[in-house]
Symmetry: C2
Subunit: 696 residues, 2 copies
């Protein structure tokens, strides 16, 4: 918990000003106005008093006991002030000033100086180029925002300062309260990871939401977020499509993966909920702040309008939630007080003339049913409808149970009073049934995450010494693309089955190898300079006898010499032909931000065309590896169609885990494709028929 920063005993404002149109004035005024109970000291060599407070000429002149300074002076003076803070044992600073890395080269240098000053002096710095922060629990408004939000359970982090002002303005209207609102600016020192960790420990915060444009340190972020989300939900908008990966990818995996995908994987693996829009961000935040988590995913609907019920039903189906089936007791109970035309099965349609009392009884009956985990209450303002009273009855009924209830009163003026009642009583209200169901959906997602077992990464016993040797040999020869044979040696050392093979350098050699292996065989050219062997005519399959092998050898050597005169040819690989099995791909590409991204999907030559693949970050658990498989259409193929025997999914998941381990053990491996990995259901084995590895 950043105690100095968020709950200081005394605050100084460097650059405080008497002129009301200066930011330094607004900040001082905001601190005083909200009623911060500690001391507040303006700092400005040109004044003796500002807003009734004694003004100090500089940091050194301040009384002791200041924990936080808020700085709003020209950028170039900021690093020095931070150093002075250090000398004065002031623990934290907020740098409002702009003019750092956002303004180009010179600003970048200045920001580096600021960063160094922070590190050397031990002062924790928020910003620069930020709006500041607001802590509603100790009434500290250390920002120049024009308004201040109501107190509440939600903490907001924003990488955009302007977004903070939009968010505050919007929150005031909808009675959404915040524990803290933090503008993180350029993140020279304090970044999203440290702040999220701190908010994770903050007793005033139950939900953390954020708007981020980038993440400073991928693996750190994941580790922290994963820890925090076990206790508190984190909901983020990740805005901005990041620039495409630096170097052109040579693997299938590398060419399909992207920065956007890496962020998705990172959020997924750390339990962070991603919001698709600003609206969704607060749709989700409210339900987490105000409602309990559901036991499971069975949703029911109470409505006074059939149409609204149908729209919510569609949304439940589209989200993949379960449509709750009421018990017989519930049906009977509903029948006892609803008119015969009402629908006593989910969606419960209590009809257009339903009064407030009927709403209350229907909601209570639904929530009492053990087969219903959460409830969406819909209302259309018809002639007999009493939206305000209905809301009160819904609130009363909902309070008797520990199950999530959300509402959508569709309309405006005639439902305004009802919406007000709901919001004041912490029943989240949404403008449409679809958004109400969307909120339940993230609750269910988060519940699943929370109740999932802790991550256990299985370590397989492998021969890493061998891999070391193979990689070093290739490095010595300056090969970054490791050839097929060496790639397979690496895989074999990590427990993969590879086809029997022999590198032959002459026709006779090839023929005798083939008969030792057994026909039919596959032959492949071996050259460090040829990545796509088939394209170069360097692959022949299904060779059935000595003469075919001899012909293939000669043809290959002459043809490739002619096509690629500069390629170094090491010979021809004679290989067992793996007949049986379905072709999948397992791959890895190293994301510059988040590290190894694993890929699973449909293999073969059309990987990049059909793109039936899924991604996860390494290291991966057995459960997550299985999830990767289930998340593709290839899963159905592996399960078998029309009575085919299913492949062993645990075997495939294990292959993914082994690649995960290999990627973590050898950071030099940049990309890796096993394509195809032939998975046989009959033999319950997976053979790495072809593979490629790229190292640094």
């Amino acid at each position: 918990m950043l105690t100095n920063l968020f709950t200081p005993k005394a605050v100084a404002v460097v650059g405080a000003s008497q002129s009301p149109d200066k930011v330094g004035h607004s900040i001082l005024k905001n601190i005083i106005d909200l009623g911060f109970e500690g001391q507040v000291y303006p700092v400005n060599p040109k004044s003796t008093e500002i807003l009734g407070k004694k003004c100090y000429p500089d940091i050194s002149a301040l009384p002791d006991g200041v924990d936080l300074v808020v700085i709003s002076i020209p950028a170039k003076f900021v690093p020095q002030v931070i150093e002075e803070c250090g000398k004065k044992h002031i623990g934290s600073a907020v740098v409002i000033s702009a003019g750092f890395k956002e303004v180009g080269r010179e600003g970048k240098d200045l920001e580096r100086r600021l960063e160094n000053a922070a590190i050397m002096s031990g002062v924790r710095v928020l910003g620069p180029n930020c709006v500041g922060f607001i802590n509603t629990s100790n009434k500290l408004n250390a920002s120049f925002a024009a308004d201040c939000p109501e107190p509440g359970d939600i903490a907001v982090i924003s990488q955009s300062g302007a977004m903070c002002t939009s968010i505050i303005d919007w929150s005031l209207k909808h009675h959404i309260g915040f524990s803290k609102l933090i503008s993180i600016g350029n993140k020279a020192d304090l970044d999203e990871e440290i702040l999220i960790e701190s908010l994770g420990e903050d007793k005033d915060t139950n939900v953390i939401v954020g708007y981020l444009e980038d993440i400073k340190n991928g693996p750190h972020f994941i580790r922290t977020a994963e820890k925090v989300t076990r206790n508190k939900p984190i909901i983020l908008i990740k805005a901005g499509t990041t620039a495409a990966g630096a170097s052109a990818a040579s693997s299938h995996t590398g060419s399909i993966a992207g920065a956007q995908m890496a962020y998705e994987c990172a959020f997924h693996s750390s339990g962070v909920m991603q919001a698709p829009s600003l609206e969704a961000l607060f749709d989700y935040a409210q339900v987490f702040a105000y409602q309990p988590l559901p036991k499971s995913d069975r949703v029911a609907i109470v409505t006074n309008a059939g149409g609204l019920g149908i729209m919510a039903t569609d949304a439940i189906e589209n989200a993949g939630l379960q449509f709750a089936k009421p018990s017989e007791a519930t049906v009977e109970k509903l029948k006892s007080f609803l008119s015969p035309a009402a629908n006593v099965h989910n969606p419960f349609d209590i009809l257009g003339d339903a009064r407030a009392e009927t709403y209350g009884k229907a909601v209570e009956t639904a929530l009492a049913d053990d087969g219903i985990d959460s409830l969406v209450v819909l209302l259309s303002p018809q002639t007999m409808t009493e939206a305000g009273n209905a809301a009160s009855e819904i609130v009363k009924a909902a309070k008797k149970f520990n199950k999530p209830v959300v509402a959508s009163f569709v309309g405006a003026r005639r439902v305004a009073e009802g919406i007000e009642v709901l919001q004041k009583n912490r029943i989240p209200h949404y403008a449409t049934p679809e958004r109400a169901v969307g909120a339940i959906n993230v609750l269910v997602d988060y519940t699943k995450w929370r109740s999932a077992p802790r991550k256990v990464i299985k370590r397989f016993s492998v021969n890493s010494t061998k891999v070391d040797r193979v990689i070093n040999l290739n490095k010595k020869r300056k090969f970054t693309n490791i050839g097929e044979q060496d790639s397979k040696s690496i895989l074999s050392a990590y427990g993969f089955t590879v086809p029997v093979c022999h590198l032959s350098r002459s026709v006779d050699d090839a023929v005798s190898a083939a008969s030792a292996i057994g026909y039919p065989v596959v032959m492949k050219i071996v050259s460090p300079d040829i990545v796509h062997k088939s394209d170069a005519g360097g692959v022949k399959v299904g060779l059935k006898g000595p003469s075919e092998v001899a012909d293939a050898f000669e043809l290959m050597m002459t043809r490739i010499k002619a096509r690629c005169p500069d390629a170094r040819l090491h010979g021809v690989l004679v290989q067992e032909m793996v007949m049986e099995g379905r072709e999948i791909i397992i791959g890895m590409t190293r994301d510059p931000q988040f590290g190894p991204m694993l890929m699973f999907g449909l293999g073969g030559i059309y990987v990049e065309v059909l793109k039936d693949v899924s991604f996860q970050l390494a290291p991966i658990t057995a459960e997550a590896a299985l999830q990767m498989i289930v998340g593709t259409k290839t899963y159905n193929l592996l399960k078998g169609v029309r009575g085919e025997k299913s492949a062993d999914m645990h075997l495939v998941a294990e292959c993914i885990q082994r690649i995960s381990q290999l990627s973590m053990d050898f950071p030099t491996i940049q990309e890796l494709d096993i394509n195809p990995l032939k998975v046989s259901s009959e033999l319950s084995r997976a053979v790495a028929v072809d593979a490629r590895v790229r190292i640094l």
Copy 2:
């Protein structure tokens, strides 16, 4: 135009009542209160005067000249009243009364009587079981809705009565005006098609929006909608997942297609925009009602907050819209009045301290650029921001150009005045940047539809007599699943290339056929009782010589006799083995609502696993057939990967069109699969390697 209904000279209310809690009272009061200028006659045998109007005992007693009666009496009396209307030459009726098909068997019979009464009497009937309608242009509120919307350009049709009241309530707050609001109820007579046609001709209506749960007559609806959307946009919510197709499908196409897909195809082929939610329905309606259509899809953004700009940029990318590139002149112009820190490239960031005037100038500069087709204006309420004035300046600038402008002022209280100014001046405002971009996106979609050439269905010269003969022969034998050979005859008659083949009944016959065709050959069992031949062991491929053919024949006959003792075996088909080409599927399944749905996609044995397919309704144009291809990943496969030659897309599109023609010509054909259709780029031909047809 339903003149009698919407613009009657005189209206009677049957079931008018003196008691204020009766619906018949509300209707009469609504008509009088809104100020309908024609005569209004209450009808009720028990009263002599209601709400100051002379009351008539029954229809026959009414003065002449009544065009419309609104009926709110017990359901069982309604059919008779309709008959009386007919006798009195009253052209139209609105049946508010409930108690028809929505209440089960008896009600269904009553509704049929009502329907017959309407047909026999010539009275056009809206309802039953509806809220009525409101026509704002002649101030006729023939409904029992508690409120009345403002006049405007948007017509609303709703199959849910409750939805009408929600919509009115909501519209009043957001200053959205309606030309007509029509509750269509059970659609006994007037349905969505007739109403849409009528609204298409309505000079007061510029946009038609609707909430539908089903469509009464698929092909009629498509024809009408297609005509109307050439002039006016139609935006619909289709709620409710319809029950799955009646009979279990025997084709791949049939098992992948569904009712939901059929609706999507129907909307797509008739230019109807589908709204994913109630919110989207009116998001879209506003932009169509208030803004011109863009020339093309190049979108620019003006913002005072970087974060909002990034979110809009993400949305533009996700929607597949073009991000406009400003001309040099625009960049120079912007530089001339913006501060140096501003971003003069799209998104135009005019910075947090931008005043109203700056907004006006930036919007005007952007709209003056020929390379910018539409504009999204974003605003975050920062300290210096003047939301109201900024809105006025934006409005002023936007009026100088004929380009769509939409806005999102993100916040609440501090932007309220600005939003009010925008809405009153018909600049659509959205709560988030994402929704603003979503509105531009549907404008672009509709523009594309409007500017697309009129549908021309090409007719190919075919041999339909032959198809007739084949089908009749099969019908005579009571075969609903037409065998492979006959299926291919049908295809061949419609211009498809099929492999050379011969039906052999003995080993010798098979061997001599094979040598005539040329090795390798394929052999397939022929039986009307075996649909999935490979599963039954009835297919052998790549047979290379007489002995292999002889073995296959004997093995197949014995094996299948053992496995399927009841199957009638007609022999074994010996067939040319089509070596070259990529495997696609073209299929058709007949939707009970919308007729033949064509499918295109990745062929082979895993069609249903990989499901890389697209659908359209027949009859199909060449352009739409090409679109079907482009809409799949299989397209990339046909284009060729890694330097492969591309397949002839027009050839594939022609195959789809030929299946379209066949489906239209022979309504008895229920399902059809060509799988695989082998498309060879080298030979520029497509061969129907296997096919199956199911008839009624």
